[in-house]
Symmetry: C2
Subunit: 594 residues, 2 copies
């Protein structure tokens, strides 16, 4: 029994100054958590109870699919992370430290390397596989912008699971098991999620899906269509127009350079084109020019993980901006930064403001990498810089007048863009990443030498999957989803206690009766929080009960003299009176029926 008179809980009437979102405000005000440093939190007793319940649900669903729990250290030596390249690739988000011998260590952000080595240590044959292993463990990531209380922290509890299979078909089976386990887990946690196609980013690999919980406080943007498509913005593939064949391309007007004085921006170039060449644009009846055809060229400096750099020119329709996260995902593990004036000065072939496709590409003399938006297909005609001031090229046809080194998914995705699977227009939605399942493939096994002998006695590289749930973040998301203006409203399965008993009166008989009810409910197997504080007013006790958020509460107060106690439902606000003789059965029924 949790007795409020001696519990390490204090409620606050004011929101903490640094809190922006409801979960953060309420978890602090209700005495569940406290901040100890930027993005680092302390779990007070009530908060820890919620955390452990969330962990236990995650654990049970992992156990249910045959995953085996183990536990790795947070402190890990550099070497395995060097072997996979992650020591470098992870960048400043990885906490690094040296021990007293000046050896390099890290605080693991995830444990792919260590699980891979553990399986390499114990297993050697295809007969040992498949294997699914997991841990619920404290992770460390030096986030640039820890935010919103528990939503993005630098030390947090995560469930990370890894699957090991001898072939791709096996990986698909393991992946699907985890996918189902995640659906069950989030259902039990009461967190609606949308399964989004995700970019695997720095993790490499093929299938990759995020479980996003739609919420306005989410920091991920994702897109959905009415036909059921859902994807992380980084993972959306662009629907390209049909390409023309060679004969059709040959029939298009030849390209021509025009003087375009002062048309130094897309907007000006569009206006100029409509003034100088009215009726010659591509819009069917009016012949109008739009910003779309004005092919925009942007230059970046790519820095590869090994430290080498190279320029990258990206071309995209003039009505689109580059989306920084899509660009980041598209070039990973390299990092792209906008070309600086100094970079331009060092690269005279790139004439800022008048860059066009001619002379770009790894196979051109310039050897500058040149990538285009997927909408730039053979037979599409564009207006672009001619490489010198106040001149542009018109009727520049891709596949005839210029080519590129490839395409890049870097242009922004907009509301109304078509879903790549033809399931209708996309809508932008905000969400929070609750889980992520990846097919890592053989990247880690290859880097660390995890092989087994296959059925034919030949060496096979093991293929892996990686599956994460943010346990700490789930607590925040649950609090965010389950609150009102008065406080928290815990789901029954996750509340720190099943029932909150309040003695609201001055007479000893009120406390005695409340104590009896609390003890009987505990004897019946319920977790009981009992507000036994003397000299605290009923108003304060009611307010605290609403703030703390147990799903059911019992008030033993003035009406006890008339043979009545109250049962209150936190979520509906419903209050009903029962006799003291009935209250235990009534509460047990309510808790058990859920």
């Amino acid at each position: 029994m949790i007795r409020l008179s001696s519990s390490f809980v204090r409620t606050l009437r004011e929101d903490p100054a640094d809190a922006e979102v409801a979960s953060h405000k309420l978890l602090v005000r209700a005495g569940y958590i406290r901040r100890s440093a930027a993005g680092v939190y302390t779990w007070l007793p009530l908060g820890l109870k919620v955390l452990r319940k969330v962990e236990q649900i995650v654990r049970e669903e992992q156990d249910a699919i045959g995953a085996q729990e183990m536990l790795f250290s947070a402190l890990q030596p550099k070497e395995p992370y060097d072997a996979t390249g992650r020591w470098t690739e992870y960048g400043p988000t990885m906490f690094r430290l040296k021990d007293r011998r000046e050896d390099d260590y890290l605080l693991a952000p995830t444990h792919e390397e260590m699980f891979t080595l553990a399986v390499k240590d114990l297993y050697s044959s295809y007969k040992d596989l498949p294997a699914m292993l997991y841990q619920i463990q404290t992770k460390f990531r030096d986030e640039a912008r820890p935010r919103a209380g528990l939503l993005r922290t630098r030390e947090f509890v995560m469930k990370d699971a890894y699957s090991f299979d001898v072939d791709d078909a096996g990986l698909d089976v393991s992946y699907d098991k985890q996918r189902v386990a995640y659906q069950r887990t989030f259902e039990r946690l009461g967190l609606p999620t949308v399964i989004c196609q995700a970019d695997a980013g720095a993790m490499g690999g093929s299938r990759s899906e995020e479980f996003l919980h739609p919420t306005p406080v989410g920091e991920d943007t994702f897109v959905v269509s009415d036909g059921g498509y859902a994807a992380n913005v980084e993972a959306v593939t662009t629907v390209a127009p049909p390409a023309l064949d060679e004969a059709a391309i040959a029939a298009l007007p030849a390209m021509h350079v025009e003087d375009t004085p002062g048309a130094s921006t897309i907007a000006k170039l569009t206006d100029f084109s409509n003034e100088a060449f009215p009726g010659r644009g591509p819009i069917a009846e009016s012949g109008e020019w739009t910003r779309y055809e004005m092919l925009k060229h942007l230059v970046y400096l790519l820095t590869h993980p090994d430290g080498t750099t190279e320029p990258l020119v990206i071309a995209l329709p003039g009505d689109r901006e580059v989306d920084a996260k899509r660009l980041e995902a598209a070039v990973a593990p390299a990092v792209a930064a906008p070309f600086s004036d100094a970079d331009f000065a060092r690269t005279p072939v790139l004439k800022k403001g008048y860059i066009g496709p001619i002379g770009l590409g790894l196979e051109s003399e310039s050897q500058i990498r040149y990538l285009v938006d997927p909408r730039v297909v053979p037979g599409t005609a564009w207006v672009a810089g001619a490489g010198e001031k106040d001149k542009h090229v018109y009727d520049l046809v891709y596949g005839r007048d210029f080519t590129a080194d490839g395409t890049i998914e870097a242009a922004e995705v907009r509301d109304g863009d078509p879903a790549p699977d033809g399931s209708g227009p996309l809508r932008m939605t905000r969400g929070m990443e609750m889980g992520h399942i990846f097919q890592l493939g053989r990247k880690y096994a290859e880097a660390l030498g995890l092989n087994v002998l296959d059925e034919n006695g030949k060496t096979a590289v093991v293929t892996m999957g990686s599956y994460g749930v943010g346990v700490t973040r789930a607590v925040a998301a649950i609090a965010e989803l389950n609150h009102d203006e008065k406080g928290l409203v815990w789901p029954r399965a996750l509340a720190p206690a099943d029932v909150h008993i309040m003695a609201t009166g001055k007479g000893a008989e009120v406390f005695e009766e409340a104590e009896r009810i609390a003890a009987e409910l505990e004897a019946r197997g319920l977790e009981v929080l009992y507000d036994d504080r003397p000299k605290v007013s009923p108003g304060v006790k009611f307010k605290d009960a609403e703030l703390l958020g147990m799903p059911t509460s019992v008030v033993v107060g003035r009406s006890l003299a008339e043979g009545k106690v109250e049962i209150r439902d936190r979520r509906s606000g419903e209050i009903r009176e029962v006799s003291p003789a009935e209250v235990v059965d009534a509460v047990v029924a309510e808790v058990r029926e859920g």
Copy 2:
């Protein structure tokens, strides 16, 4: 049910090369743990189950005395540890790191500061106290010599509890509650412990006791007497001879300087004295000189936490060596290093080999700190260096001819030395520290401003206690105590499973019957480990069962045809045959009766 065919367990027939103690060898060989770096271990599935059971026992005994569980982060900012001085005092054993903003952080070795700040945050009145809080959490210490597998690691699970009281009497009550909880905890863990008086060392404070588990692999030396005295070597206080009064001292022979050519060591000086002044030594009938009277002077360079240094001269009877750990504890938080030749060169007043007490002391001209062994009491007569080559002073009487700045407990303790409480001679014993309870007093509360208003409305500084159990180390100690030459022998309460079922035969009926027994035992609430591996010989299965160490095993094999299965007791080796119909009841009875 744990099925060995698919469990992440592999046994090894050979001891790991780096293992010295049985617990380390067997926990690795049986697939409970793996090393991931020096002093850093991975818990494989079976090991994790044992760890969790030990944690749960520790938790239950904390809960039983009303301690409340919470959870602090491992990553902590420097500031609170600066305020208490521990950022500096903890030395290289504290893992330190910087975040991406170059701010200083540490991985907490213990959490006194954070618990103190948490109580300061929530509490403000004497009515809020007493409070007892704890966590079971991962700690980090960069040990200079991680050793013996889990016995001394750099990342480990620890239960650390802290008590908060308004006065010393309250602290005594809290301390005694933890003392009882520790006795119960170690009893449930099956670990005999001796409660030893301990030096509080760098933690400061008054009462301090260690729970030492006597074992030859322990790295702590402690002493016990037949009369019940037990203490850490660092905590033993020396029994001093009676001092003489002034009149008696005045009657002693005057001191005199003698030529002692070549007597540059204690041994030579003793021999020289017996030759040059036979019959004038203190031994009652023979007048023999012993090494005891040859007062040994040793010089150290003390380095204080703030980086300042000073020389320190220690004098002790010539038949004793300095005990490095006692010296370390005696000078903490300063650190003592032997005076180097360069140090001697810089300090000409200290003539190496001929140092004596004359001219030493903070109030002398030299201003050199001078401390003596507690046996050096007023009226004791000594032989010591005269401060120049080949000369010594005889009949040098403490309290008449020289004094010191104080005493120091740095001399070695020996078998046969008297216990300070008069309970008989001391015996040296080796043990392993399993728990430690301290009265911290007001050090942390003062440094961090943890005050409450007392009954009279006045500000009172809170007094604290600190109580730790090494959970990881307990697993090792339990394995160390519970093994034989064949493998581990887990106590029932801590085994990863209650029973180990083996199907040792080729026929399908053997596996079917074993499966039925396993399923029924699980249905009866037992944790079952089932060796369902096909094509593994009975011999290998028996050996693995002995290595893994479940307390009870069931063999379903050849004798099944005759209507018999075997129940084996791992500890006694006893084997009995029962019918398949009886086996479930028989095993349940055995497990329940414990």
